[in-house]
């Protein structure tokens, strides 16, 4: 009826200027150096893997959102690249397609698309193929083999539904000395040999396509944190609690448990922490909640690594953290200004 003199609106009143596509696009940019390093390190197979997974994710996203074009928010691209980075470089492409489809279809579209998914889609895809193809996902190839840019790893082009060939003979031909076919974490777990921090930082170890160089991942993460595209508290909380837990274990038994630096730099902890735990849709929104969330992930990672049957625990730790997120959010709501201490 009457015209409002004062414009009345509910909070928030300020806009950070970031839209979802802006943030997502910058995350993709920040991952490009890691992808580049991975391709430089593992050659054609890693390139084919990353392209296949990303293309699968984009195609699935397009297929399942026929009414609205959701490719423009870049989130499917992030899922695809991240998923590719967490898979072993020699992973057969048909399995990678399965992983990409599961990630988007079951991990995201099933729940209603971006922002409604309770779990990080890339990790859902990886968890599925980890459970489905336990051998293929732990078949590693040496980094920096001589003709990595001229030939593919034999397993890359396995026929669909077929078992990937044995690559032990192929690896021997590559002229790589003393290749054990195990990740630093597996070597620690089964042989009690820890890799040096220098190797882990620069990425001259065996691992998934994108989790080798901890230093590079940290730098990319720093870019995101400085531009405020991610909550810096999450990586700090995860890494801090993981380091504290590892340090406590080492105090208890230095001969058996590795030093905290090894725990922080090895395996997928870095990439998981920086790119997956910080997923905005699946992490708590309150500052206190974020600390709790990060702390749980860090502790769980170390516990799964030390006592679980698997060598790597980051994936399940983050999925567990994702599952707890709604609960954490509910119990860490800040008091509304001007209201009493009692719960309403």
């Amino acid at each position: 009826m009457s015209k409002h003199r004062i414009e009345l609106r509910a909070a928030p009143h300020q806009h950070s200027g970031h839209s979802v596509p802006t943030i997502m696009r910058n995350v993709v940019y920040s991952m490009l150096p890691i992808c580049g390093f991975s391709v430089w390190q593992y050659g054609l197979s890693a390139l084919a893997l990353l392209l296949t997974v990303t293309a699968t994710c984009l195609a699935t996203e397009r297929l399942l959102n026929r009414n609205a074009n959701t490719l423009g928010d870049w989130s499917a691209a992030i899922t695809g690249i991240l998923l590719g980075l967490t898979l072993p470089p020699a992973f057969p492409l048909w399995m990678a397609i399965v992983a990409g489809f599961v990630a988007i279809a079951i991990g995201k579209a099933m729940f209603g698309g971006l922002g409604h998914n309770p779990f990080n889609p890339a990790l859902v895809g990886r968890a599925f193929v980890q459970a489905a193809f336990p051998v293929a996902i732990t078949t590693w190839v040496p980094a920096f083999s001589a003709n990595r840019f001229s030939e593919f790893v034999p397993t890359t082009f396995t026929a669909p539904l077929m078992m990937p060939p044995d690559i032990v003979g192929w690896v021997k031909q590559q002229g790589v000395d003393a290749f054990t076919g195990a990740t630093p974490l597996a070597r620690w777990k089964f042989e009690n040999v820890t890799a040096s921090a220098h190797d882990l930082l620069t990425g001259t170890v065996t691992a998934s396509a994108g989790e080798t160089s901890a230093l590079l991942i940290l730098l990319c993460g720093a870019y995101l944190a400085i531009r405020k595209f991610m909550d810096w508290r999450i990586p700090v909380a995860v890494l801090g609690s993981a380091a504290l837990t590892a340090w406590a274990f080492q105090l208890y038994n230095p001969a058996h448990y590795p030093d905290p630096l090894f725990v922080l730099l090895s395996g997928g902890l870095m990439i998981g922490t920086i790119y997956m735990a910080t997923d905005m849709a699946t992490s708590p929104v309150t500052p206190v909640g974020v600390w709790i969330y990060g702390g749980i992930i860090g502790v769980m990672t170390v516990i799964i690594r030390y006592f679980g049957g698997l060598t790597e625990g980051v994936m399940y730790a983050i999925l567990l953290g994702n599952a707890l997120t709604p609960l954490i959010d509910q119990y860490t709501q800040p008091r509304v200004y001007g209201t009493g201490k009692e719960k309403s």
């Binding site: 459970a131 489905a132 193809f133 336990p134 539904l161 077929m162 078992m163 990937p164």
Partner: protein
């Protein structure tokens, strides 16, 4: 109030098809999920479970229908349970005698047919209000629908999880088994997939009916 006089309508084709399609216990009513998820690791297990349930369902519905006017309504559930348990015990011993390996594969789920909500549900909702022949036809449809549902799950899981169907290899020896499919999560994935397909088809046909 539930024990009204039986409806007049006789046996129609829908009496049978209700369980097979429109009210399929697995895909539409989502009943009896415990055996559905647990024993559908292979097609053989699934069909055996389905046939065992079918037998118990038909026999107990016949008996319940025959005595429907004799049982006081205060003790009807207990009566149904005794009837169902009798037939489950029969099936239990028969399977044990016919194939011990199958008996071990199905495990406790044979005995658990007694608490399968499809059977009790049919006894309460249909057999206790209808004449014997109609109750049997309806139970037969339900049992076949349940078997089809189990077979659909079991076949999918066996094809993906072992590359076989009814024990026959489909893809040769280089097939890569999807280990997850024979694990419990695989049961949920496959069931979810089938439910999705059915609700998709249903929404399609409803949309089509609305347009006409």
């Amino acid at each position: 109030m539930s024990l009204k006089k039986e409806p007049d309508e006789g046996i129609t084709f829908d009496t049978f098809m209700e369980g097979v399609w429109r009210q399929n216990p697995v895909f539409v009513m989502v009943l009896g999920m415990c055996p559905t998820l647990a024993v559908t690791v292979s097609a053989v297990n699934a069909v055996s479970m389905g046939v065992a349930t079918l037998f118990v369902l038909v026999s107990s519905c016949l008996l319940v229908s025959l005595i429907r006017n004799l049982v006081p309504k205060e003790v009807r559930i207990a009566t149904y349970i005794v009837i169902i348990a009798t037939f489950v015990t029969l099936v239990d011993y028969i399977i044990q005698a016919v194939s011990l390996s199958l008996y071990e594969a199905l495990g406790a789920f044979i005995q658990l047919i007694v608490v399968n909500c499809i059977i009790l549900g049919r006894a309460e909702a249909h057999a206790s209000k209808n004449p014997p022949l109609k109750a049997v036809v309806n139970a037969l449809g339900m049992g076949i629908g349940f078997t089809i549902g189990l077979l659909a799950l079991g076949a999918t899981r066996e094809i993906l999880g072992a590359g076989k169907l009814f024990g026959f290899s489909l893809f040769g020896e280089h097939f890569q088994p999807w280990v997850v499919m024979v694990l419990p999560p695989g049961g949920f994935f496959v069931l979810g997939g089938w439910l999705l397909l059915f609700s998709f088809m249903r929404s399609r046909s409803e949309k089509g009916a609305a347009h006409e």
